[in-house]
Amino acid sequence: MRKLLSSLALGAAVLAAAPASAVTVIETSAGNGNAAIPFGLTNSQISVDFDIYQTSPISLLFGVEQGDADAYNFDSLVSVFTGVGPQANGLRRLRLSLTDGATFTLGTVTPSFSVAGVQMNAAGNQVDMMFDPAENVAVELGSFDGTNGDFIINRGNIAPGGTFNLSVASAVPEPASWLMLITGFGLLGSVMRRRKAKALLLA
């Protein structure tokens, strides 16, 4: 189950496997047992799963290729191993970030056991997800059954040959900052499990 992939080996494998017209992973950074497993990369789709053992960030540098669509559907299974790994606090917060002008359109957030609050910053390049109670199994981002519910990564002005970074941070905020995060920004909405309320959050 645990997929420990070194960043260089992972990048090389993906480069070798990806079709010429698909977005590519140029570099992966994942430490402390965390892992990123991209397996569905096309010119319009980015599917990357994350295994999180500790609250250190994972980042992937994507290269835009000729023929890529202006936007990619994005979905991910974030497997939370903190409850059985060396860090026992569970997942309280997950932050997705984009660089170089790429932006998100929100999709569904479906934690296995918890309830999620989701917010996106004004620039559209950072999504914070908060889980109460802490999630200890997994969080599904987007839909695995098709594109309905997927997040959208808009590449903006990044031309073919350019790059952008997608990072996942699972830092557990201190209680004070946690409270500030909730009250300062306000929750866009609470996303229950997709089966109970199939919600597509829009920014």
Binding site: M1, D49, L77, V80, F81, T82, G83, V84, G85, P86, Q87, A88, N89, G90, T110, S112, F113, S114, V115, P133, A134, N136, V137, A138, E140, F144, R193, R195
Partner: protein
Amino acid sequence: MADIDIGRRGLLKSGSLGAFALAAPLGGLMATQASAATGANGEQTSLAPSPYGPVAPTTDLNTGLKLLQLPAGFSYRSISWRGDLMSDGQRVAPAHDGMAVVQVTGGRVPEHVLIRNHEIGFGTPQLVVGNPNGSYDTTAAVGGGCSVLRVRNGVVTDHRQAIASTAVNCAGGMSLWNSWLTCEETNVAASASNLTHGYVFDVNSDPRRTVAQPIVEMGRFPHEATASDPVTGYVYLTQDQRAVSGFYRFKPTSQVRAYGELLKGGTLQMAKVIGVDKANLLALRSETQPSDIGTVGESLPIEWVDINTPDASATTITEVGANNPRTREFNVAGPFAEGRAKGGLRMARGEGIWYDGNGTFYKVDTAFGYNSSGTSAANGRGCVWAYRPSRSNPDIGMLTLIYATSDPVVGNNPDNITVSPRGGVVYCEDGGTPVDQFGRGERMMGLTPQGEVYILVKNNIQLSSAQLSAMGRTGHPFSPNPGDYRSSEFAGACFDPTGRTMYVNSQGPGITFAITGPWSRGNL
């Protein structure tokens, strides 16, 4: 015999466990039996603090009801209640009992395949839809069986009947081929059909492939649970019959590990203490009470005697002997009578058994000890044994008493038992409803690496008519009735292979729970 050449009490007294050393966490258990929480004979006398902290009523994320008391940080979902509509068009049967995650399937999102017993004797039979071979005793109103559940991230994606028309399916155990060995905890004949009961059946995770044919050579007796040894392929078996329970194993004839292979037969054997004829392991020995076990931590070398007639009918034997705390005439299962005559040991009431993946089988005796007045053995508060088969000589092994208590608040009749992927032991209790610092309610207990039990979960199920109606769980004969179910036992505890989700049943009203949380704060 080289790796078993130690005295009965050699493990603890020598301080050197040698080749038969018990690996952690059992090694940890043995090292600390003389702690403040134990009496002179090693019995635990007070509850240990939980490494997960105190429990408190916690909201079910599916119903909004506070059905369980859990430590802070843990959450759960209730699934597959009795009376819920299943994927095969039938309703979930009541009396949820033994269970295991027998398989993990799926792609990006793993799907846990669980097979769950329903401990029903005579009642309304279910069907295995599309598979007439999935039912056993169809001419009698035998209502027991199993259901198979597919659970994806705490949500049931499919559940259906997996075997039907078997009787009193109490517990069972995983096979070595992703199926479930379900145990009939009875040995009565079904009068209408003249088919006998008290067998083990192999239940396929695909109900269309289940063949409800008893594995007769595993013996006919009130079976409780099984645990399979991945090294030898032997299946260890417990018996739940007060004061006349043996400890058995089955050596399959076929070396092929596939569904249906156990039906090719094998040899049933019963455990015997080496050098002790007809050992009595019903309670601890004292100055006035005889027994062949004296203290928690004591180990007994074990050999196995063949049972030549595993399908023999029940009979009567008379228990006698100087070291026997319970001497009288007993009606016993046929295999027990034969094994006992050959010197086999007896226990109080065998219950759960689980292999830890590291060479140790944890085995429960729910009634080990004396009653509160100290007059009747095999009526106590229970114990946990650890059996380690020798890897150099599979015909022998070592049985060690790792936990016992006579205090009903400390331990209240352990029943089903499981081991987490990280090696922590959890068991479900099934005694009279305990009242402890967290109030009234049946419990799940953890065993610390120091060998002391702590409270992990408490039953808090209290259902009103209005709550059941609001959930839509009314109107069918299998639908739950309103009531206070805090006295209902937990059963079927098991972990998924990653150790992130623990599943467990409450037998009444019949609910399965998926529990998750910060397991690594403690030893589970």
